[in-house]
Subunit: 420 residues, 2 copies
């Protein structure tokens, strides 16, 4: 504690960046306070599976207190940060003020709509667990509506437009198509789910543009064979309550538009007086701290170290969180800080049953069944918590063996319940 | 379908009564339409475990479409019923009108507050999955607040008052005490959870009054040994935002008051023009249909067959649902209807680790470890769905072996999310 004279490190955000920073301080002579507005950590890479009713929300969420339980120099505070005062070195939260000697901001990202008219109002983002639950409810509700309405209204309810052909858009499109073709087809024997359409709209000329062209082509082929439609080289002109207008002229009538096209730094950084780049990410020094506020570090999706390409993925957040922690220890010990260097351990995206793409270390490209097994093994190993792993195995086994989904509940929120 | 000339049986409610009625019509020459405002069936007997973070919501919810998938004469409609016209034999819903030849209303129950001032506004009911999620969030949030606030405010946040010493109140009290003493104590090493109080307020002179006195006494002893306080022979005078005023004079400062004391028929029945008794349950004939509307049956918690004591438990609902279905078939075939006779198969309530009470057929009383094993076996067998059973086994094993809870996530609702 502060009173004991050990430096206080306050970490804001219990995502990958924040958790890895806390863990890297485990043996350091500091007191760590981790602050998050949720009491759970979300395993973001599998968020799309919650949205596609493949995993239950609890399968990818893990209580923060349980994760840090064995770390004796760390405590957790459930609170939302409302501001920062660098002069008095204080973090303001809705649970009171917190003094810091070192501050690590790992506050994630927000969805960017690039000024597309109606996009923020009429599309579903997919960046938090709440988003995933809301989108899952929407998809299942749309299919229910389609069965009740019939005709043109049914078609719009069975048309799912996914804006963005990056990993999130591609993985979600594959999972959604399998949900529609399998479990929902069996659940709705009186509905012609052959009418259902899943359409990816991508500005670039190929999906998964961060992968080698060969893997993009494979992913496109697999998706098309599954029935997913691709609109490449096309931007979205506007989104409204009834669908999407493409800049190329095509109109897509749809009641479910999913926006995976843009991610930026959270608006809160600028509100807290931190200089950001045009994508809203904090412009940090190569050592990940702020110019003029060397005790404040920003890591993960919310950070853009000067001149470096730091992709907004989990491995970047964990590497940055770890380096920030190590640099804090170096600062305490009076040693020089080290600059960030992103080590690309590889990228993988799953397209569907037995199909994935894997790109390792910028060199090795794997696709198909082998890539899918690699994806499965890695994600199982990384899912935080034994029970979450078991639950995921069960869900996935059921999905694989019986082509069924276990989590297709339209779970209304506690506050809009019709019951009383 | 109606066009095919087969009688249309509309069943409102996919709880135990509605599902069992549908199942009992599997081979009958009728078309069954099951209507519910949720797309899932809730396994109510384990609701209190969701509230105590022992099971995840999905563990006790199962998609209705999946349950009735193999029943070829049944369909499902996700809709809320808004009214009934017995003259034209039509059910009005927010998804359109539905003609019926026979109607089964299995619309459950509602919480009754007996006019206690502030009870409806300031206490947490525990009757639906949404209630359980909201209560779980409240409990976990109260403990977080206690750690942040300290002092008197902490004490009120660590005081949990449960109004009603029936099975729900007793089972929830035991599960909550174990949650506080085990997982939450480990999660909050800086908080003295010895300050936490769980208090049952019961009007009668003993808890579990439907059980033999011997079992009530055992349950009371076990609860007290676990640390649960009992206030017997005491009514609640009023509930407010800061706690509970007992009629006997005692004041309990508490931010979490749980109301399990009263259950009645749903208000909707009266709105739909159906005669109800003073508890709001439909006054049906012994054959479970309405006097003057012989084609309309009311079953389960929402039904009170004339002169019979029909307890508001799952086995009463399944038995009534089954009889209503059989009487519909008898009516179609021109045979006389049969009156309802409740067969008490037994009651069981779990108090805590290795402790339960079981009362079979009004004769055999079992308590302790053996009763607990009986409880476990029965509930596992009855949990709808293979995956739900596995998930429950995993949760319970983790709970039992590691004295830990897997589901302690404060999952905010999709609509009040702070994220964007």
């Amino acid at each position: 504690m502060h009173q004991q004279g050990r430096p206080r490190v306050v970490i804001v955000g219990a995502g990958f960046g924040g958790l890895w920073a806390a863990a890297a301080l485990r043996t350091a002579p500091v007191e760590v306070e981790l602050i998050d507005r949720h009491n759970y950590h979300t395993f973001f890479p599998l968020l799309y599976q919650v949205a596609a009713a493949e995993l239950a929300p609890g399968d990818i969420a893990h209580p923060v207190r349980k994760i840090i339980r064995r770390q004796h120099n760390a405590s957790f505070t459930l609170a939302a940060v409302t501001g920062i005062d660098p002069t008095s070195k204080t973090v303001f939260t809705d649970a009171g003020d917190r003094p810091y000697d070192y501050l690590v901001l790992a506050v994630g990202s927000t969805t960017r709509y690039f000024g597309v008219a109606g996009a923020a109002e009429h599309s579903y983002p997919l960046r938090t667990l709440e988003h995933a639950i809301k989108l899952r409810n929407r998809i299942l509700g749309a299919v229910e509506s389609a069965e009740q309405l019939g005709g043109t209204a049914a078609k719009a309810n069975l048309t799912f437009v996914i804006v963005g052909g990056g990993p999130t858009g591609v993985e979600f499109a594959g999972a959604l198509q399998e949900l529609l073709n399998g479990p929902l087809r069996r659940d709705h024997p009186r509905l012609d789910l052959g009418d259902a359409r899943v359409i990816i709209v991508e500005t670039g000329d190929r999906i998964l543009s961060i992968y080698p062209k060969r893997l993009s082509r494979y992913a496109g082929r697999r998706l098309r064979r599954m029935g997913v439609e691709l609109r490449l080289g096309t931007t979205v002109a506007s989104v409204d309550a009834d669908g999407v207008q493409l800049a190329a002229g095509e109109r897509l009538e749809s009641t479910t538009v999913v926006w995976t096209a843009g991610v930026g730094g959270p608006g809160a950084l600028a509100e807290w007086g931190i200089a950001t780049d045009q994508a809203g990410r904090a412009a940090v020094l190569p050592e990940l701290n702020l110019d003029g506020q060397p005790d404040v570090y920003v890591v993960g999706d919310s950070s853009q170290p000067g001149g470096l390409a730091a992709p907004m993925v989990a491995q970047n957040a964990t590497q940055q969180g770890t380096l920030a922690a190590k640099n804090i220890v170096r600062a305490i010990e009076g040693r020089p800080l080290e600059p960030y260097r992103y080590r690309d351990l590889g990228n993988m995206a799953v397209i569907g049953r037995n199909a994935a793409v894997v790109h390792l270390g910028g060199r090795i490209a794997v696709k198909g069944y082998l890539a899918w097994v690699m994806w499965l093994s890695l994600h199982l190993a990384k899912l935080v918590g034994f029970r979450n792993r078991i639950a995921a195995v069960l869900s996935w086994s059921g999905d694989y063996l019986f082509r069924d989904r276990v989590a297709r509940l339209i779970m209304s929120s506690p506050d809009d319940s019709q019951s009383n």
